[in-house]
């Protein structure tokens, strides 16, 4: 359904070329949920926005290939992308508080999208809007459809955004940190809702997050990104049980555990690297506890058919390292 190959996004700035995304490749199959996880600034959102032409800066260069249903969508003009945006690919954004236009009712905005792609008459579009609001769990949709965004809470607004994204039966749904701005209970509800709707509508989902818990809950496969580069790609269970890259170890170890003794939380030492001055070899080397001389060369993404990673460590070394880490924790 979606094939991304060597996606690279760079910005020309006064301080030099900023490589926000550097060689991202992954696939999304039908009805599959792919999670993209990484720290803030790892390039996850930029990668996704650039696929749909939502990166509007003038100083950007986007290269690579993005095949959506066997059609190259990278480099298409706005006009050519219009039927795809909102029609075949729906998007959910991070901050529900600012995602909706404040001067129009949610019904108006839903109808706008429906009529853009489905060409229904006004009354039918309004009916569909009310149905959608009901499906996403908005109480009393018949009257709420004529309310303004500021009359809804954050969780409710995010549901409206989800309703909008799904309104035209998209084959692919892209969710950029859909629950980051919400509290934990609302987060659980929203994720449940997305899973339910994915089942009903048969769509694939790409979910971007920095929360490994969300990944565990939702994803079939995971792409771990660091400094704009994919460092590990694996099915979700494999990633959690047999992670290979030191960054993934760091991410998984950082998740607080209920059964841990009173210890300090694990952190990955150092700070996220600035895309402006990436080291010549592996981007994670400065923060890696297992760095070797070889890491001065950028490791390629390699492994089995299903599970690849970008690290010079051999399997034997990994086993030893993880065993000693487990003994000490």
């Amino acid at each position: 359904m979606l094939r991304v190959r060597d996606l690279a996004v760079s910005f020309a700035t006064r301080q030099g070329v900023l490589r926000a995304v550097d060689g991202l490749s992954f696939d999304v199959g039908r009805k599959e949920i792919v999670g993209i996880v990484g720290e803030s600034g790892s390039g996850k959102s930029v990668a996704i926005y650039s696929m749909l032409g939502l990166v509007r800066e003038k100083n950007v260069t986007i290269t690579g290939s993005v095949l959506f249903e066997d059609r190259e969508i990278l480099g298409l003009s706005d006009r050519e992308l219009q039927p795809i945006r909102g029609g075949s690919i729906g998007m959910i954004f991070q901050d529900p508080m600012t995602a909706l236009t404040p001067v129009y009712t949610v019904g108006w905005q839903l109808v706008e999208q429906i009529r853009q792609h489905l060409h229904l008459p006004k009354a039918a579009a309004r009916q569909r809007a009310i149905e959608l609001l009901g499906q996403v769990g908005i109480p009393d949709p018949k009257s709420r459809v004529d309310r303004y965004p500021h009359e809804f809470s954050g969780g409710m607004r995010q549901r409206v955004v989800i309703a909008m994204a799904l309104s035209c039966n998209p084959r692919l749904l892209i969710a950029d940190e859909p629950t980051t701005a919400l509290d934990v209970t609302t987060q659980a509800q929203i994720l449940d809702l997305m899973l339910k709707l994915q089942d009903t509508y048969d769509s694939s989902i790409v979910i971007i997050t920095h929360d490994m818990g969300v990944i565990a809950e939702m994803a079939h496969r995971v792409v771990v990104m660091y400094a704009g580069r994919p460092v590990e790609i694996a099915p979700e269970l494999d990633l959690v049980r047999r992670p290979r890259h030191p960054y993934t170890w760091g991410l998984l170890d950082a998740v607080p555990r209920l059964d841990a003794k009173n210890e300090r939380l694990h952190t990955i030492r150092g700070n996220a690297v600035s895309p402006l001055d990436l080291p010549p070899g592996c981007a994670f080397a400065p923060r890696c506890d297992y760095v070797m001389d070889q890491c001065a060369q950028r490791p390629p993404l390699r492994g089995d058919a299903d599970h690849v990673d970008a690290c010079w460590l051999s399997d034997a070394q990994r086993v030893t390292i993880r065993q000693s880490v487990e003994q000490h924790s």
Partner: protein, 322 residues
């Protein structure tokens, strides 16, 4: 919404009352000044002074004097100018009002169209040449004083090129619409352009800034991700949100101009509107007329403020106080 409107207009009435009291106190209660002499004008006889003292109740308590003044001005409408003996104030203003109205409404139409177009074109073409070009013209228009621009227009149309390109331009003055629509239009054309220039410049610059801000908002990105055309995004989403501040600005400008703020333009072009009336009465210290003009202007400014507040609540649902 209804209670909001009611409350807003109630406070407008309160403000008008306060203005009327303040004007009254300045003209009639400033210590050390003989109010009778001020009302009667510069060279008044003793007989006139006595008459003024009686009419305005200058020996009576302050609140009574205020009420008498307001009575003369609004209810009886027989307040007369003491410089132009016998000319009543209120008719002078009502005669001058349509002229100012013609000037301001015509200029408003021009400046709104030019300003909004300029702002939209500049914002939609950020970074290309047309954008800073329009902004430059805008700031040039803002920087030029209306009286200078008006005089230059007169210089070009009345003397320098009067025999060649601008032979069709009539001499300064006003012809009412009912007398001759063509002449009305021709007499007002250059005053319209002069007055509109300043405001078109401001509006284009303000709208461009607001639009550029709006275009960077998250909801624009959502609109784009919905598959809407760039044109629809610009007009239905970005412009609709930016227009709120333009409409507010327009209401205030329009109100002030109707009330006589187009003073200099009227004087330069010889249009006997409320602005010209205020100007002449200020020069002659014709107190009753000044007071009439002040109240007239204040009324429109206060009214415009109230209308703008209500309009703002209509345009931006977030502001509505239930």
């Amino acid at each position: 919404m209804f209670y909001f409107v009611v409350r807003r207009f109630a406070s407008a009435v309160l403000v008008l009352f306060t203005i009327s009291v303040t004007v009254f106190l300045i003209f009639f209660a400033t210590p050390g000044v003989d109010p009778a002499a001020r009302i009667a004008g510069r060279s008044a006889s003793a007989q006139v002074l006595a008459q003024v003292a009686k009419e305005f109740g200058l020996n009576r308590p302050l609140p009574i004097r205020y009420l008498l003044m307001m009575d003369h001005l609004f209810i009886k409408q027989d307040l007369t100018s003491y410089v132009n003996i016998g000319d009543r104030v209120v008719p002078q203003i009502t005669q001058a009002a349509p002229i100012t109205l013609s000037l301001v409404v015509g200029a408003a139409v021009i400046w709104l169209i030019v300003g909004v177009l300029g702002g939209v074109i500049a914002a939609a073409n950020q970074g290309k040449f047309i954008d800073p070009f329009i902004m430059f013209i805008g700031i040039a228009a803002v920087s030029v004083p209306a009286y200078w621009l008006g005089e230059v227009m007169n210089l070009l149309t009345q003397s320098k090129f009067h025999s060649s390109i601008f032979a069709w331009v009539p001499p300064p003055g006003y012809v009412s619409f009912t007398t001759s629509p063509t002449e009305w239009f021709l007499h007002l054309l250059f005053p319209w352009l002069t007055l509109a220039a300043l405001y078109a410049g401001i509006y284009a610059r303000v709208l461009r800034a607001e639009l550029v801000n709006a275009l960077n908002e998250d909801y624009i990105r959502t609109a784009r991700a919905k598959g809407l055309s760039e044109r629809r995004i610009l007009f239905r989403h970005a412009l609709r949100c930016s227009l709120i501040s333009i409409v507010s600005l327009f209401g205030l400008d329009f109100g002030a101009l109707i009330g006589g703020a187009a003073l200099l333009t009227e004087v330069v072009f010889g249009l006997p509107g409320v602005g010209m009336l205020t100007y002449t009465s200020l020069q002659n210290l014709d107190l009753p007329v000044i007071m009439g003009c002040v109240m007239y202007g204040a009324f429109f400014v206060v009214l415009a403020n109230a209308v703008v507040d209500v309009l703002y609540a209509y345009l931006d649902p977030r502001v509505r106080l239930v």
